[in-house]
Subunit: 177 residues, 2 copies
DNA sequence: TTCTATATGTTATAATATATCATATTTTAA
DNA sequence: TTAAAATATGATATATTATAACATATAGAA
């Protein structure tokens, strides 16, 4: 059981697992910023202070963050920030694969592996709101097979799975609910 | 090629295929209403004239329809309809599996098989906006396997695939784009 | 340096969704 | 059969999410 779990986590198809409560989140942010710098340099696009700040704010947790939540936090450093300030930065970050949008929550989450291009597959815990990002080939293959059989040309996959993560399940949060 | 396509379409895992332009859509609506009546009777819930009308409006096409689009159409028969009028009806229809919400479009689409409970898997054509509804066991299994391996308990799957349907591809709509 | 493209500021408004309380209708059950 | 309770709809207001449009500033290219 534990072994299967470890295999699943260590697998490259799990881009970002659920994080333990006590993990060093500052380190996550540092790594995300570094990866973003590297990605933007490669793309020849400018990773401005505003964009960096917005990325940091999205990374303020491993959970999805709303645009207006980002805006509110942003205002402590930029008093006159307005919705377009945030939405434009978010758009940039998405175009460069630095964040993903969770459609079912109208919210955004940092990408765990901006070096590699990939669509979004997410497990979202309904209790702690944390998100695990996947790039599961079996899911991708199943989708592609069916689409092919129907002559449908896939351009973008949105896979968002809501449920309860292992930690919350163990803690017994709302179990039967 | 054609054979594979037919197998895919006839398969029960394709709940509602892309519809040809010339199909008898009135018949689709009639069948959807009949299925809804039967479903609500089974559930012991009341399929009121308002709810019926809203369902008909969602079924006005095989594409996703926005809540305010439904509202506008609804107003020709109910002059004083307001947003809550529509949203409450949509909520009812979703609870009873008569429609699905397409998260990535903030829109709603009629369910092709309300008799059977299922989550949503959709192929959405970016050109003609039509939607094919799936209940693909391979996709479901791939998702469940990965979730199980991570100790994640799945409650709700959202699978929304954007791309180009076979018809639009054949017609050459925006092909290289 | 001047032109051009890119990025941000600023104001206004669009699009989507819900809260709340009032009224009407249906169902339950005494 | 009628009063109470539950359900459904009406009506108004407002919350939440997102974009349009135009002005200004800044960075790179010619």
């Amino acid at each position: 059981m534990e072994k299967i779990f470890q295999e699943a986590v260590n697998d490259a198809q799990v881009i970002a697992p659920f994080q333990s409560h006590g993990h060093d989140h500052g380190q996550c942010v540092v790594e995300a910023i570094a990866a973003a710098e590297s990605r933007c340099e490669k793309d020849g696009s400018s990773f401005t202070p505003l964009r960096r700040k917005v990325l940091e704010l999205v990374w303020s947790s491993h959970g999805p963050v709303g645009a207006y939540e980002v805006l509110e936090k942003l205002r402590s450093s930029r008093r006159n920030a307005a919705p377009p300030t945030v939405y434009r930065a978010l758009e940039f970050l998405m175009e460069h694969g630095l964040i993903h949008r969770i459609e079912s929550l109208n919210a955004y989450v940092g990408c765990g592996d901006p070096a590699r291009r990939h669509g979004g597959q997410f497990l979202i815990c309904r209790d702690c709101q944390s998100v695990a990002e996947l790039d599961d080939r079996a899911i991708d293959r199943a989708v592609t097979r069916r689409a092919d059989a129907l002559g449908f040309d896939v351009e973008q996959q949105t896979v968002e799975i809501i449920g309860q993560c292992a930690d919350c399940s163990a803690r017994g949060d709302n179990d039967g609910e």
